[in-house]
């Protein structure tokens, strides 16, 4: 079964060996880039149709069903429509920045995919400070959002960009802090090493994934919340709140540039999903020893798809937050919770050395879980003081 696991790596090597020796390094790089762009582009097309179908199912309608069997060719039709649409640039717009913004938005997001280990030996780049690089590239997109909003010379665009930047800066903090316990316990910033550290099984069948520890579970929850906000998705999509801001910083974009923003949004979602899988869900590792026969990229893809499904599900079921609720949630709940989570992870790591009852895993589990449950309840009540009180409706009964 090893050949199936490494099928992409070996076939890639064979393809590269066809090239003349002097061009082989360049051919290898180009092949990797082409593979990542093809797979992620295909995922983008597939996700748009699955999302529309899924939202349709949640809202009791059919979703797109006219183009091809069950509407499966809808992304192709959408792409053609976007390509052939007129590209309208406002006469007062700052032409250069308006043109460059969608490009600057998508380029760093493409770069993040080179860091993700999609399977065993399937990371394009194993950077020693991979996670840090991931966040650096993520923060570079904020400038593109600003460029898009400012260059449009439209009040809605500027307000939307300001909102988006405030949201992205605020949620970058809990996003980074939620990953810190993983880095602390893996002892490395490299994504490949982090997957390596989650190998093996406790009791012979429970995988040593980070999400199955108390701090990992809390960290994963924090990470998912912050990642949703970071990729501007519902329920945190208020930079594009159409009832208030038309379409936020996208207002003055049309045609292919709009499609690029759309692509950037989905690719950002894929990137954080891939990072979440790598950091908390064991990367490409199988969930049970008897399932090890399936190839590693299959497990990565499976976990990745499950996360994407969770994001679509959340979009279909959760109402949008208000701006003050959004910022309060980030600074008064997620950040303190992430800091407490770091402490819990440290105690989880150090408690076996204390001897006595702390050497048994269930005891450590209970101790760290208690450390996290009480702050969760307390912080949650502090953020929303009316939680649990009877709701009063002004106009409805």
């Amino acid at each position: 079964m090893n050949w199936l696991d490494q099928i992409f790596v070996t076939s890639g090597h064979q393809l590269v060996s066809l090239a003349p020796a002097s061009l082989q390094p360049a051919a290898s790089v180009l092949l990797t880039i082409a593979a990542i762009m093809a797979v992620c582009g295909g995922c983008f097309a597939l996700t748009t149709i699955i999302e529309r179908k899924g939202l349709g199912r949640i809202q009791n309608r059919r979703g797109p069903n006219r183009v091809g069997p069950c509407g499966l060719f809808q992304p192709l039709a959408d792409g053609l429509k976007m390509l052939t649409k007129e590209d309208i640039v406002p006469s007062s717009a700052d032409k250069a920045a308006h043109f460059l913004a969608p490009i600057i938005l998508t380029v760093p997001i493409w770069l993040t995919f080179s860091l993700l280990p999609f399977g065993r030996n399937m990371a394009a780049l194993n950077l020693d400070s991979g996670v840090l690089f991931f966040f650096a590239l993520g923060s570079a997109t904020e400038l593109a959002v600003f460029m898009a909003g400012w260059s449009s010379q439209n009040k809605y665009s500027v307000l939307g960009a300001m909102r988006a930047i405030a949201q992205m800066i605020s949620y970058e903090v809990p996003l980074a802090l939620a990953t810190v316990p993983v880095l602390m316990l893996a002892g490395s910033l490299s994504l490949v090493d982090i997957v390596q550290a989650q190998g093996g099984y406790a009791l012979g069948f429970v995988p040593r994934w980070n999400v199955l520890t108390p701090w990992g579970l809390v960290g994963f929850g924090l990470f998912l919340t912050a990642a949703t906000a970071e990729s501007n998705r519902s329920p945190f999509d208020l930079p594009e709140g159409e009832s208030e801001l038309i379409a936020g910083y996208l207002t003055e974009y049309s045609g292919f540039k709009y499609a690029l923003f759309f692509l950037g949004e989905y690719l950002g979602l894929f990137a954080v999903s891939g990072l979440g899988v790598t950091l908390f869900l064991g990367g490409w590792r199988a969930p049970l020893p008897i399932l090890e026969w399936a190839p590693s990229w299959f497990w990565f893809g499976g976990k990745f798809s499950a996360l994407i499904f969770v994001f679509i599900w959340a979009r279909g079921t959760l109402p949008r937050l208000r701006l003050d609720q959004l910022l309060n949630l980030a600074w008064k709940f997620l950040v303190p919770m992430a800091l407490i989570n770091m402490l819990a992870a440290a105690i989880w790591h150090l408690s076996p050395q204390w001897g006595g009852v702390f050497t048994s895993p269930p005891m450590r589990w209970l101790l760290t879980a208690a450390m996290l449950v009480f702050p969760y309840v307390w912080l949650g009540r502090a953020v929303n003081p009316r939680a649990g009180a009877k709701r009063e409706y002004a106009y409805a009964e």
């Binding site: 950077l127 020693d128 840090l132 650096a136 590239l137 923060s139 800066i169």
Partner: protein
């Protein structure tokens, strides 16, 4: 020669961005070009094998400092000022002198560096550089790290104090008329 192409690209982006940041008329354009120069510098660090420094450069300069500059320009209405006249600095000569001094001191220290005289540049092989940086920060340089942390916390608290809006009730209570009214009431009671 082909191995040098990434370096020339990064150097061109850095220099071009820096020159544009100085000479463009629109302040927001200048800030964006400066961000481009920061990113080019990050690419050069990456090419030199300093991954951690490159990531920190992009994270801090492109992600945070460029945003800060842009916000400062927008909040002070600098972005709306239309500058069409040629740039004229009254003390151009002094500026030129300062540039010359900085360039001379930099060139002097570069020319005297031992790695330039070694002719063949040998990059030291370091395993797990990020881990080494972390260990050094937690052992040898823990005091500077804590000091920086304290300084930043103090700065953040100061920013919060400056930005916080006084509660309307507190303002009412501190108004002299309210105080006088209260004093009058107390006088009536007694």
């Amino acid at each position: 020669m082909p191995n040098n192409i990434p370096f020339y690209l990064a150097a061109a982006v850095t220099l071009g961005g820096a020159i544009a940041a100085m000479s463009l008329r629109n302040l927001v354009h200048c800030a964006l070009c400066a961000a481009g120069a920061f990113a080019g510098l990050g690419a050069i660090y990456l090419q030199l094998g300093a991954e951690f420094v490159a990531a920190a450069q992009v994270l801090v300069y492109v992600g945070a400092i460029a945003m800060l500059i842009v916000f400062a320009i927008l909040l002070t209405r600098g972005g709306k000022v239309k500058l069409t006249a040629r740039q004229t600095a009254p003390n151009r000569f002094v500026g030129f002198l300062i540039v010359l001094l900085v360039c001379a001191s930099l060139a002097g220290s570069i020319l005297r560096s031992p790695s330039l005289q070694a002719r063949t540049l040998a990059l030291p092989e370091v395993t797990a550089p990020a881990q080494r940086i972390g260990e050094n920060l937690m052992t040898a340089y823990v005091l500077p790290l804590e000091t920086v942390g304290l300084l930043l916390t103090a700065a953040m608290l100061g920013a919060v104090v400056l930005a916080i809006r006084e509660e309307p009730e507190a303002r009412l209570r501190s108004e002299p008329t309210a105080q006088r009214r209260q004093a009058l009431e107390e006088a009536n009671i007694s």
